[in-house]
Amino acid sequence: MSTTSATAVPPFRVESATPASRAAAVVGLLLLAVLATAPAWGGSGFMKLLIEFFTLLALAQMWNLLAGYAGLVSIGQQAFVGLGAYGLFVGTDRLGLHPLLAIPVLAAVIALIALATSLFAFRLHGGYFAIGTWVIAEVFRILVSGAKEVGAGNGVTIQGAAFLGPQGRLALTYWLALGVGFGSVILVAWIMRSRLGLALRALRDSEAGAESLGIDVFRTKLAVYLIASVGCAVAGAIIYLSLLRIQPNAAFSVDWTARMIFIVIIGGLGRIEGPIVGALVFIGLRETLADFGSLYLVILGVVAIGLTLLAPRGLWGLFVARFPMVSFGAQPRLVMGAQTPGGAGPPPGTTPTEVA
Amino acid sequence: MSLLEVRGASSFYGDFQALYDISLAVQEGERFAMIGSNGAGKSTLLRMIAGLLPARGGGIRFDGQAIDALPTHERVKLGVSLVPEGRRVFPSLSVEENLLIGGYRGRRGHWGLGRVYELFPLLKERARRSAAVLSGGEQQALAIGRALMNNPRLLLLDEVSLGLAPVVIRELYDRLPAIAAAGTTVLIVEQNIDQALGVADRVACLLEGRISLAGRPAELTREAIAAAYFGI
């Protein structure tokens, strides 16, 4: 982004915090503190459910970042879930790394892989981008299914974390899931308050308009793609640190992305609260409707279609429309300074003009 | 009864109001010109009449029938044809195909492929070419011909002269009598005041979305028109 634009644009500050968002941050931190002690008091079933919730939350936040904020509808994020799983296996079992070390290492490697895949995927747009990312995920699935070093089609079992003992591994996995769940929310909030977030807002309103503001649309989208890919890989590694058994068809299954999509559509696309609400509802639905088998997925599909057409901002959007004051305010707003062109702008501190 | 009657209609782009409480009546067989500077709302008015934009408040009647609720293609079926600003010919279609698709609704009448080619002989020479390779004037002729193929009762012309050389503009305007003679009522939108005054039976002026003047060309003074046009 050019710095010269600062002279063309009236002074502004990026304002994201609202009383509600500050309250949410406080509540969130308290919640985190309480949840962090769960290994001391929670049963393993409870912790496993939370591991699932927080890893799904992280995946959904990443997909929301891609589709909801950057307009990149990927149906291939399972590529990175699978790569994260196998990355963890290679790190712990083949290289002998501690899981805590293996995860940052695999994140770095997968960032490079994502950069390479972007060369292909970014040639496509819109719905064709969606299928293109899917093909790329398929390529990884097939390649891994053929790689004897990682068990080919049968897959592998992670044993490099066995030294932690069952309780130790569960606690570590739980803390990591907690970290990645909270971390994903904080990451998205932070991104949306940064210049990248402003670029994303401009881009969502109009790509051509964003370009005319001097925003590099390609680099903005690429940054989001890389962040989301690494995010999914880290979440995938934690999921499989919990599951241990990795099979290529499951690890690279489009079901991962389907879950992300359902969660985001249900909760609310393009809002940071959406994946939180969506993940809660999604797990709730699954717990209650699991007995229906494939019918459960039919219901999910119908719900997704209905919400997309009738309530594209999801449950959270419906909720906010009714109670506007509860918004976390992670949508950054440009608060115009005193010198708006023509001098007709509001004085600072009074009724800020929402540009976003 | 007027062929077209707009009464108290407004139009919006989102929250932005482009037309305020417009009322006008165009009689059958008349040539009516709407002038106004860039951004006055002329195209918006035609798009509203054609059904591309909803009219809010008030109403639009065509031949006595309320057409507000009708989608564009139904209005075309009744005989309302728009020659849009910027011509908008179909580049994937040949010249002749552009004309044939103009007759999509199958309204019968004076105009057909042969008559349009008589009116614009150049189009006949270029019949098999892609519309994309035509010059601006030829594209404008094609856009008019495409609209005529619907045998419209009301022809809406949006800035036919836009971006064309004076000699080309004159050639196109010279065809207007022939079009009117075939019984078509014409509503012309122009920024070019002289052009509009020269051909119109009646003229009205739009200023920032409101009608600022209306009358017969002979009755209007230059000063009155300038004031209505520029808002001074």
Partner: protein, 291 residues
């Protein structure tokens, strides 16, 4: 000789991929809709044929007479009651809605027909072959498949280039608003386009169903093959799509020859190579885009 055979088999299969691809690119060309349920609707057509065959004992090829119109009606209605409402609001709604449809179709099929693989039996036709040299013989059925595919493509080409419907499709693809100005009901036209799209999908579905077994979860793969053919051939050209389909078919056959596990992979790699080195496709038209 095995290789020559592989290439011939791939070419014959490619016709079906081209049919699949045509439906996908027709919807994209006319209404900028990328139908993620394309593959699952293709599988649905095969199951419909299975139902017809089971109920009447007819040859699946005869069953086409029922399956194609039914799929066309499904396409028309799907567009009319659902997809038209997803258009005009950016890229997300159509992708999400068609993804939802894909999930629904897949799981309804799973519910009704179970996960077991099914096949369509076209009788002795399937084993007949035409001997070219003493080492190369071409199955009669694959040959018929290619001929039918080319026939359908020719028919479509005729409709698109010679009829008022085709002109309307191209005009709408060029400029929807200008199309409305000439009196085209674009929503209705979209529904017709989707009907045609699913009609071709139905033909491809029945032929593929005779050729290979199918299950409720095979849709995504079909979608991907269709998509790869479109991109390899070059967006929006009917004959480019045929080239794309054949190229994909040949790549897969060759991959299969190397190692049966790599059949699909070879196609994916060809697709990625085209994307990297010739993103406009092997056969892209430079000017006048066609639907």
């Amino acid at each position: 000789m095995e290789w020559v055979n592989a290439v011939i088999q791939g070419t014959l299969l490619g016709g079906l991929y081209a049919l699949l691809a045509t439906g996908l690119s027709l919807a994209f060309g006319v209404m900028r809709l990328v139908n993620l349920a394309h593959g699952d609707l293709n599988i649905l057509a095969a199951y419909l044929a299975l139902v017809v065959v089971t109920a009447t004992g007819a040859n699946p090829l005869v069953g086409l007479v029922a399956v194609v119109p039914v799929m066309m009606v499904i396409g028309f209605l799907l567009q009319r009651v659902l997809l038209n409402f997803a258009l005009g609001g950016g890229v997300l709604p159509p992708v999400l809605v068609t993804f939802g449809i894909a999930v629904v179709v897949q799981n309804v099929l799973l519910d009704v027909f179970s996960a077991d693989s099914q096949g369509l039996d076209a009788g002795p036709l399937e084993n007949a072959s035409v001997t070219l040299t003493d080492q190369i013989s071409v199955g009669f059925f694959p040959l018929l498949t290619l001929l039918v595919a080319v026939g359908v493509l020719l028919g479509l080409q005729f409709v698109v280039s010679r009829t008022q419907l085709g002109r309307a499709l191209r005009a709408t693809s060029d400029d929807t608003e200008a199309a409305r100005i000439v009196g085209i009901d674009h929503r209705r036209l979209y529904s017709i386009a989707m009907a045609i799209s699913l009609g071709t999908v139905a033909v491809a579905g029945v032929f593929l169903g005779i050729r290979t077994t199918f299950g409720p979860s095979d849709g995504p793969q079909r979608l991907i093959f269709a998509f790869e053919s479109v991109i390899i051939g070059g967006l929006g050209s009917l004959w480019g799509t045929l080239v794309g389909g054949v190229a994909l078919g040949v790549a897969q056959a060759v991959g299969n020859q190397v190692n049966p596990a790599y059949q699909a992979l070879a196609g994916h790699l060809l697709f990625l190579a085209v994307l990297a080195f010739r993103p406009s496709g092997l056969f892209a038209r430079r000017t006048a885009r066609q639907v």
